[in-house]
Symmetry: C3
Subunit: 333 residues, 3 copies
């Protein structure tokens, strides 16, 4: 027998229910991708749980995770263990989240605009900025915390890991399975607290933000801003890294990214450009770059027709560019 | 605090909600099975999500998957990656589905009647016909598509994979892990598009259907029909295979299957007979067969008492028949 | 689009729906733990499905499992295969459950009081008594059954496994992967039925229960009781084991446990003490013990502030005690 969930907050208000709740929502997509070599069918269906409650003193609390984020084996992918999803408490003094949260820098600045049917996944998500802390970077330390506080137009963010590596222990035997690589820069990395601080000024039609993150010797300074005027929006991000080794004799130096969007009724056209800089000791810098353009057409009722093209140039001699593309329909339920 | 979902479409209609929805349903079973050697307890509980929406122009879309179909590691069992479950779009010009869908042949003809408490699973599901495309056969190629269109009493079906093997890549390293076996018939198999076409004529109390499928050199022609009169229903399936190698010097030649059911009030008695033919080069054919009989008694409210016995004879010299049985209660929620 | 589930049984009654239902509830927690070496962030979010129905003749049936209990690979952790969660039928003649159920002894007597933010998990759950049957002990035999029947103030319990080992078969190849250890006490263990019987007398403000369990040569006799007076409650458990080998030349002899709680409005203070006895042949007994104390403060609306400290002494020469602690907020949705 099929159970029907209601899509109406109105009914809940009528009933006057103030208790803790579990809300359920979903998304899906179907279309085709060009992965640089072949055209492939690509589809998915997902469901998300959103948990909300309020204490007698008016403290809000909640949590959220998707069904596909509950998959413990292999990759520590489990909301029941704090490695995916998040829980939070929120009140007058701000919001404190714990779990698979983003860093302060990422919470304040975020990524470039996602384009296409797969939101950039077909090309390995080059629109995502590489922040040092949170959002997948330090899952070997278990849950990350994120604190957010907004007063007038200014928001403050702080986030940290606990500096205790949980991934080097075998889940069943409890044995330490980490094999040191002999590289002091990465060997002890997961035993150090990774933290991030950020501030954002939001004037309504534009905002600017500054972030800082540190993990062991590695550090990151990030700057971002976005402006919206009429149907246009533009966003820029610059991140400067220090001591972020990406292999013997090479260091990740910086990322600069720009994205823009134009919306006219149901149609949105979006694009981004990103260039990284990698310092190679005793040789020329490598400057990988990615450029993408895409369009979304809103079909209403939660369906969006979307497509995009992304070109990635690794700037390594003898390696060709890769061009990726996708087109399909995205659903929200 | 327990949340209660409503089992009433009426209430939804009253509320006049037209938006996208997530419906939730479940099933379960508890009983005992005889696996040919031992009697064992067997139980399960499952939950399914059904996602539905409609665009402004009246295009229907949706998706569905079960919680246990979200389990990425090991077997590519994940609705969030298109390997399980399905999404679809449906309108005046038919229905297009993508994901873990059945082939055109299977959509038109289907399998023999399922019997017993475990729906044949105790005996390895001999009531399921071996279709070449979809329904588990080509998951190494990612999502399959299925198109269905009905005009008057005639339905047309078409399905295909994309011919791009995704299973030979290691999920974490991205390396190609396929080791060619030296058999040209299977080595390059997953790099070929598998497709299927079928048509069905449905006269209400009887239907007949014809299907065709091809994957590399392998092909399949399938014929099926079903008739219902008074409390009886009878269904027959015949499938002829070509170039389907099942080992060195042996080829899967054909399957013939027949099933019948009789319903009297809450009681339904069902049975099936199936015989395969395997051509062995330079030796006699092997003719494995399976025969099963079972009964369902509807207890109302979603509970059904069910039991069945299935005998499988491999027709290989020196190998005994196996007899399987099960009895228990099946639930729908 | 977000779906809202209702937290009101009243509404369901109004609608007069008698059909099978899927209810959804959740829990979460966020806080810090001290694992004996380091302080770590610890959080989680979970969702549970509760399935309920009733046949035409008034037989109740149902099932339940959590999303994180659907994770087949590795550890047979799957409600869809009866290894986690449970299904049941309930009527005039008692309740019969199948799946990952507790033993008769555990159903009657249970564990000591859980303390702290992680309910004892930070210290490896020393408040949990080691029952021989069910609750994780015999999952290699697939589902366990539990029968419960109450008449007046007396409840009877019986539980059993089927004595058929399913874990030694490789899921994909079907091969038997068990490597005998040469110890006759454990080698054939999973091929023997494990069963348990128990009875409980409940006088309202106190109860007493007696249980018995047997698995191959191993047996267990358990005694338990609890009393509640004014704001106090006290519970005691004693278990005597026979032939339970815990290594060469050592046998698990007994467990004695005591726990107490005091509640004053929103505050509950809880504690437990447990001592095991291990017989070592030709040497002194080892007597590991654990002691814990904790407090819960109910914030209302499903939120509870909780903390606890647990000390575990292995009583092995040269091995120090371990002290664990946790504090955080627990949520119910």
């Amino acid at each position: 027998m099929k159970k029907v969930l209601f899509a109406t907050t109105a009914l809940v208000m009528t009933a006057g229910v103030a208790a803790a709740e579990v809300a359920i929502s979903g998304d899906g997509r179907m279309g085709v991708i060009y992965d640089g070599d072949d055209v492939q069918f690509a589809s998915r269906a997902r469901v998300k749980f959103t948990l909300t409650g309020e204490s007698d003193a008016g403290l809000s609390f909640g949590g959220e995770f998707r069904v596909d984020q509950e998959d413990w084996n292999n990759s520590y992918r489990s909301a029941a263990r704090g490695e995916r999803g998040a829980v939070w408490i929120s009140g007058t003094y701000g919001k404190l989240s714990m779990g698979d949260v983003v860093s302060a820098s990422e919470a304040a600045i975020g990524d470039l605009y996602e384009i296409g049917y797969t939101d950039g996944a077909v090309a390995g998500d080059p629109e995502e900025i590489s922040y040092l802390v949170g959002d997948g970077a330090n899952r070997d330390q278990g849950p990350t915390i994120l604190y957010e506080y907004t007063v007038n137009q200014i928001s403050f963010y702080a986030s940290a890991t606990d500096g205790v590596d949980t991934s080097v222990y075998d889940v069943t035997t409890g044995a330490n399975t980490y094999t040191p690589t002999g590289n002091p820069d990465t060997d002890a990395l997961s035993d150090h607290v990774a933290y991030s601080l950020a501030a954002k000024y939001d004037a309504g039609n534009w905002w600017a933000a500054l972030g800082y993150a540190k993990h062991d010797d590695m550090s990151e300074i990030s700057l971002g801003g976005e402006a919206k005027f009429n149907n246009f929006s533009v966003k820029g991000v610059f991140v400067k890294y220090d001591d972020v080794f990406v292999g013997t004799g090479a260091e990740f130096d910086s990322t600069i990214g720009l994205s823009a969007a134009y919306q006219a009724d149901a149609l949105t056209v979006k694009g981004f450009f990103r260039q990284d800089k990698v310092d190679v000791y005793g040789a020329s810098d490598i400057k990988p770059r990615a450029i993408g353009i895409g369009a979304d057409y809103d079909l209403g009722g939660g369906a969006v027709l979307a497509g995009g093209i992304i070109n990635v140039d690794s700037d390594v001699a003898g390696v060709d560019d890769d061009t990726y593309a996708d087109v399909g329909v995205k659903f929200k339920f």
